[in-house]
Symmetry: D2
Subunit: 147 residues, 4 copies
């Protein structure tokens, strides 16, 4: 079994280095083995032309949740690069807050595949607004890709 070390500390530090997550006002609210959640509040700066959450903002949060879900399954001295992802926009991104969950579908020593789900949260029940599938590569020994 892989010794993933104290992945929570590691992930929080890495998340803290992401300028883009800071720009979105995003928080890492949950990090379990093979599952990570990110949340942020609605803000006008995050919108597309109709006032919905921008698809790229949804992608940024889902892709980050998927990446850190992968980090929870690898050793501390290796890293992750995303090869590709696909996003389906299922409902307009309207809501007070948004939650993004990434979960590992297929762990691996070379390729890791994760699925993500984005939810709008308001008064009523959480609404599924988007889904992602992401393929990632485990990176060893590259100095520009650490942590």
């Amino acid at each position: 079994m892989i010794d993933t070390g104290d992945f929570r500390d590691r992930i929080r530090q890495s998340f803290g280095r992401q300028g883009a997550m800071d720009m979105l006002g995003a928080e890492l609210t949950r990090a379990e083995q093979a599952m990570v959640e990110i949340e942020f509040a609605y803000d006008e700066k995050l919108t597309q032309q109709h006032g919905f959450l921008h698809a790229g903002v949804i992608s940024a949060a889902l892709e980050t949740a998927c990446t850190y879900a992968a980090y929870t399954t690898i050793a501390p001295d290796v890293s992750i690069l995303t090869i590709e992802f696909k996003v389906n926009l299922l409902s307009p991104g309207r809501g007070e807050r948004f939650l993004f969950r990434g979960e590992i579908t297929k762990p691996g020593s070379t390729i890791i595949v994760a699925d993500g789900r984005a939810y709008a949260i308001g008064d009523g029940p959480a609404k599924l607004i988007a889904s992602m599938t992401s393929s990632m590569m485990v990176i060893r020994g590259r100095e520009d890709v650490v942590g």
Copy 2:
């Protein structure tokens, strides 16, 4: 043939309503029939944990370029919603400036498909850093989706 009206004005106004494009410091630098370009400069706020351009930021710009490329092919009184897109990250997002081009692969009265390419621009030749394929739906008569 569809009367697309003065699509440049229409697209610039719509682009100007996108909080997310403003947040990224993005400019709409070109709008031709079936092809749109967006550009912005590197900024630390746009990065992932290794200091490269965040995949979600790349997605936001590519998806916007693809969407407005679709706008150039439709009548002024209809609108576009993105159904889904896929992004391949081809090289790390390093560079001084970035250019994002969206082009229509398949126009249509119901479904429009576009392909996008992202380039890092610096001293040397432009470097292809990502590609996107995006499927969009033409929307008529929905009051919350106009322009």
Copy 3:
């Protein structure tokens, strides 16, 4: 609520018209509201160059399962066309039999999104070999696309 009629009969008849499913030796083994399963046995004619199940064969079965899962949610007088799908190949397609399940993630009157999973079945536990996300369009009034 949509009256989906006797969707099982409808789906079996439509499935029976698919030359490609006959070619694969595929059977429709389950059709529930929003969920359909297809199965077939391993055969050398279904392989790629390493003797594994061909990715296109996996796609054919997953796409068909997703499409008929969509059929279970629509009225008998409309039809479905697939806009696009993405397949992740998670493990080599080795096994005695294969099972392909399509499930509706997002029903809709215009766009329907389904997720599919493919499993290899042999002596041990079923092994997940592939996943699909598929976007489909509901078609009304087109004479060449019925049933």
Copy 4:
């Protein structure tokens, strides 16, 4: 520069081992550096329920063209496994013959990305019916994945 050996012979032999390509009646009609074409004639056994070419059949041919396009860029002693692909269905698969072209968008020693295009060929101009983007992994030293 990689010595790709006599890639044409290598690809033809590998293609000849694909049960699925034989089943489709497919021929490898062109193999150039970073570009491969596959063709076959329309046949009722290749159809979905409306009589169009089945999306899975389109996927099988496009994925194979993309894979062999990748083979033309690698050394003879390594192999290729497809990680994932996405297909957009742009027009119904109607025609007398079909041509599938795979081209390398991003070569690499670990990950290779290809784009594919499928065309229906009949009396008039060739019609674009589908596009694919495929991500592949270069495989070294795995005994079950050779050639």
